[in-house]
Symmetry: C2
Subunit: 124 residues, 2 copies
């Protein structure tokens, strides 16, 4: 957990995808996925955080669940979402809300990178 | 304010840009702007809401401030952001955090639509 002064929290922040560090997702069950934390607590955001995921060909996120929700917006590529026992195709400009505690996974189902935004509440 | 049952809140929701109603922004100071509420309280989201704005050529959002923050991700087009006394160019894949209470405005600075995501905390 990072510590924020009132001064940090009150500042406008701007950046871009190209200026944001690309980090491998090392979580068990993840394959060929990177994450960029576009807006995170250290940028001063008070309530929710914005991340951008890139899933390479044949890659996937973990099939998992957790006690916070996802708000997802698909930017590019072709994916499959496993949600509980269902598999669903997903495409650019699709929007998905995954409630807390529900099992989910995202796979790249095409040749190009599968890229999506995934926002989460800021957790204390 | 809408009322949500526990059942509503616990459900996965999916949609897409093309399936989401396009509404004119009628707020004073707005010109040729539409909004799509991609994820909102009636979809069951518990903490924050996802909107997509389209600003037509020569259009702009109001120059205003309010007591909640914005988290912005630029999807397409070329814009100008007025933030306090500054004007800044913005481009696709730019990311901006506007803290609560700060004055801001977004203008289309090109010929094509200027399109961005703007997320806000869910307010009670």
């Amino acid at each position: 957990m990072e510590f924020h002064t009132a001064e940090e929290v009150s500042k406008m922040y701007r950046s871009s995808v190209s200026q944001t560090q690309v980090e491998a997702v090392e979580m068990e069950g993840a394959k060929d996925v990177t994450i960029q934390w576009l807006l995170k607590r250290s940028h001063g955001v008070p309530n929710f955080e914005m991340r951008r995921f890139t899933v390479k060909k044949d890659g996937h996120t973990p099939y998992h669940q957790h006690d916070f929700e996802h708000e997802i917006y698909v930017l590019s590529g072709h994916g499959m979402m496993k949600y509980g026992d269902e598999e669903q195709e997903i495409h650019p400009e699709d929007v998905i809300y995954i409630p807390a505690n529900d099992w989910h996974q995202f796979r790249n189902a095409g040749d190009a990178d599968f890229v999506f935004m995934c926002l989460v509440p800021k957790m204390d």
